[in-house]
């Protein structure tokens, strides 16, 4: 004997109207046969038999209103293979409620403490003056020589040699199988790249700028960042999305946005934003080797800047480790990408006035190395964050929140954030200067927290 229960149209439905029976006692029903219709104020649904057998009894007559979900509405003769009894449903709901209460107990397991350090550069290592542009190029070339699964795809990366010449000579060395010009279709080629990564390749997807990646952000977040989790660990997206991010010069609002905070909020992504050429090389190599999706934010205004880079093809830096660029005891300044240069210049000028600033280059935004920041603030008791993007909900907001969480008692002044003015970036030269953060704004903020 099997009871047919009042079904629900949705998990929130509690009762409904049994509008019509298509069967009567004595009929034989088969699996899949429509036996009744039910309705709520929102929808109607046909009820299909799941089991077969003879109808012994109709328990709830048609036209009955307010029939509670899981009430037996008819009885079939036949084996007891039955739908799960309502009591079991209740038991499961209780389990669910228990599990909902549980996460506090399960709260984020302390991440294994891994000491991340930059590799020692031997004293006799040769340092070569290299532009950020060439450091990025070298990183890609070295990793492509090392692993055939690595390929570069994007607009103008091959024959044109890169819109900003970052992929110069790669087509000549690796051929068109591995250096691939795409049509101007960010959404499509980002999705294609993620699909290729799911199939086991290691794509480097270049966006001509991250402004255009807004067309593709669905694939970066929904397809790349979430799939490992949604697949229970089965499918990974081993991919790097890279290109210039942030303001260029006089290109207007649509070509000048800093996306650091957007991507750094997403679990499943790693987000890197280097400043100098050595970090650009060492971190891009790390990003390519990393088995996770990595967003690698470059800065157009730094491409042509030269820095010392250790010679050799094995300079790989740890992802997730900030770097103290300048030591100081009076105030901590955090910055990433182009703002690091401004922070260092500000620190020089402040030193002339007797203020010793410690400058921390975040380098990686996710995971954020807050230990290094917190340790610094414990020493300086003052914090200024600097970023090129907008302030609200930004990288600085996160840095400040973490410092308050972990070093509140050490602070001698409210932390301050330096950032772009809260407007789309203007075109007019004077307004552009007014809008963007720079050395003066950092100095002003430091003086305010020192006051």
């Amino acid at each position: 004997m099997t009871d047919i229960l009042m079904p629900a149209l949705s998990p929130t439905m509690e009762e409904g109207t049994l509008t019509k029976w298509h069967i009567k006692a004595g009929d034989t029903v088969s699996a899949g046969q429509v036996i009744a219709e039910i309705e709520t104020d929102k929808a109607t649904m046909e009820v299909e038999a799941v089991d077969e057998g003879e109808v012994l009894e109709i328990l709830v007559p048609e036209g009955s209103e307010n029939v509670k979900v899981n009430t037996p509405i008819a009885r079939l003769a036949g084996e007891d293979s039955a739908p799960a009894p309502a009591s079991k449903t209740e038991a499961l709901k209780a389990e669910t409620a228990k599990a909902e209460a549980a996460p506090a107990a399960a709260a984020a397991p302390a991440a294994p403490k891994v000491e991340l350090r930059d590799p020692e550069i031997p004293a006799d290592a040769k340092l070569v003056k290299t532009t950020v542009r060439d450091a990025l190029r070298d990183a890609m070339a070295e990793e492509m020589r090392r692993d055939d699964r690595v390929f570069l795809i994007g607009e103008e990366v091959a024959q044109y040699q890169g819109a900003y010449k970052v992929s110069r000579d790669l087509l000549q060395e690796f051929g068109e199988r591995r250096v691939i010009d795409t049509p101007i279709t960010e959404h499509g080629f980002a999705g294609l790249g993620v699909g290729a990564a799911m199939a086991g390749l290691k794509p480097i997807v270049e966006f001509m700028t991250f402004n255009f990646a807004m067309q593709a952000i669905d694939h970066i977040i929904n397809s790349a960042a979430k799939t490992l989790y949604m697949s229970g660990g089965q499918i990974r997206a081993d991919i790097v999305f890279r290109g210039p991010n942030g303001a260029a010069s006089r290109v207007g609002a649509q070509h000048s946005q800093d996306y650091s905070a957007w991507y750094a909020q997403i679990p499943g992504l790693k987000v890197i934003a280097p400043y100098d050429a050595a970090d650009a090389k060492g971190l891009l190599k790390a990003a390519i080797r990393d088995p996770n999706p990595v967003v690698f934010l470059e800065h157009e205004m730094l491409y042509g800047t030269e820095f010392d880079v250790p010679e050799g093809d094995d300079y790989v830096l740890p992802i997730g480790k900030a770097k103290i660029r300048r030591e100081g005891k009076d105030v901590t300044i955090t910055a990433h990408a182009r703002m690091v240069g401004f922070a260092l210049q500000a620190a020089e000028k402040l030193a002339e006035e007797g203020i010793e600033a410690e400058v921390i280059d975040l380098r990686t935004l996710r995971p954020l190395d807050h230990e290094t920041i917190v340790e610094s603030v414990k020493k300086t008791s003052r914090l200024v964050s600097a970023e090129e993007g907008w302030g609200p909900m930004g990288v600085g907001a996160e840095v400040v929140a973490r410092v308050i969480e972990h070093a509140f008692d050490y602070l001698d002044a409210p932390p301050l954030r330096v950032h772009q003015e809260d407007v789309p970036l203007p075109y007019a030269a004077n307004l552009e200067v007014l809008s963007l953060p720079g050395v003066d704004k950092i100095i002003a903020a430091v003086k305010q927290v020192m006051a």
Partner: protein, 343 residues
């Protein structure tokens, strides 16, 4: 609906006596019957579990479309080729050979589910059968599937990517970005448009300026054809032809498979956008399982043979339901696993 289906390269139930119609052995027909009945019984049961509150969120059933996934699967080299689809994915997974227990337990959000309960109805994956999801964003699987095809060509391994999407997704921009690259680079992608006539509640006539979806690749030079999706043999044969081209390096192909979903878009469908008569007419005159039964009768399959399959399927589904009940919910420690691959 029956009128709308232009049976271009396919047979209808009455054509079984015409010599030129697709042929299949009794063994093949019985196998198709088993797979199609498995999908239908599994989905009916999933619908029931949803109503009982054991399946949460969204649940999109495949009932009515069974002949499509089963017919296409005949061309899939399991573990070599790749399959990807959207959110109406249970039928594709069962046809691909995924374990019904793991699929049902994923629907109930249990640790025994194919994604340990962390994906749900729309997000299941299985590397062993080459099933790459299960994607909840309409049209996203088309670009991703084109990437799966790209990987096959990059490796030179003659694998093919089977990319399922619906008439609704066929209006998404990224579909055409993908078509362009697939044809430009001659990628081995088979685009299977399951035209079930409704994008959620909007009929194809109300959403699409041209409704002949097999033509949608024309401006890129991708050939296409319309197939009767209620006839498993028509689907099987059209897919085989498309796959032979793709494996030979001739590039992508579009199969517009005309089919019909019997149930609502999801479980909370008000069913106000089409008449009950329309649905009943399809069920009565074009049901893919009834059509297959006619082929089976012509092939002299006996009632006992079908009954034995019915019973086997019933047992498989009952076991899946039981497993989906008994498999525990994921341990709270699973909350923080699978966010990153440990480098």
């Amino acid at each position: 609906m029956a009128k709308a289906a232009a049976h271009k390269s396919s047979s209808s139930a009455d054509d079984t006596k015409i010599p030129n119609t697709p042929q299949a052995s009794k063994e093949d027909l019985l196998r198709f019957y088993r797979e199609m009945v498995l999908i239908r019984r599994f989905e009916e049961r999933a619908g029931q579990l949803y109503g009982m509150g054991l399946i949460g969120g969204f649940c999109h059933l495949y009932i009515g479309q069974e002949a499509v996934a089963v017919g296409v699967q005949e061309s899939v080299k399991q573990g070599h080729d790749k399959i990807i689809t959207g959110y109406r994915d249970h039928g594709h997974m069962l046809a691909a050979g995924m374990d019904p227990n793991a699929v049902m337990a994923e629907l109930t959000g249990r640790i025994g589910g194919s994604s340990k309960g962390k994906g749900g109805s729309m997000h299941m994956f299985d590397t062993a059968t080459g099933f790459y999801g299960g994607h909840g964003i309409v049209g996203a699987q088309v670009a991703l599937g084109t990437g799966l095809a790209f990987a096959g060509k990059y490796r030179g391994d003659d694998s093919v990517s089977f990319v399922y999407f619906g008439d609704g997704a066929s209006n998404q921009g990224q579909v055409y970005e993908s078509f362009n690259m697939a044809q430009l680079w001659k990628l081995p992608a088979i685009y299977i448009i399951e035209n079930n006539q409704y994008a959620m509640g909007t009929s194809i006539e109300r959403s699409s300026s041209t409704t002949e979806l097999y033509m949608r690749g024309a401006s890129f030079g991708i050939p296409g054809e319309q197939v009767d999706g209620m006839d498993v043999l028509a689907v099987r044969d059209a897919t085989a032809r498309a796959v032979a081209r793709a494996r030979a390096g001739e590039g992508p192909y579009i199969l517009e498979v005309k089919t019909y979903r019997y149930r609502g878009h999801s479980m909370s469908d008000p069913a106000k956008y089409r008449t009950k008569e329309e649905v009943d007419e399809v069920k009565k005159t074009r049901d893919p399982i009834d059509h297959l039964k006619m082929l089976l009768a012509a092939a002299k399959a006996t009632e006992e043979e079908l009954k034995a399959i019915d019973n086997e399927v019933k047992a498989i589904v009952a076991e899946a339901v039981q497993f989906a009940h008994e498999s525990p919910e994921p341990d709270p420690s699973e909350l923080y696993t699978d966010v990153y691959v440990e480098a």
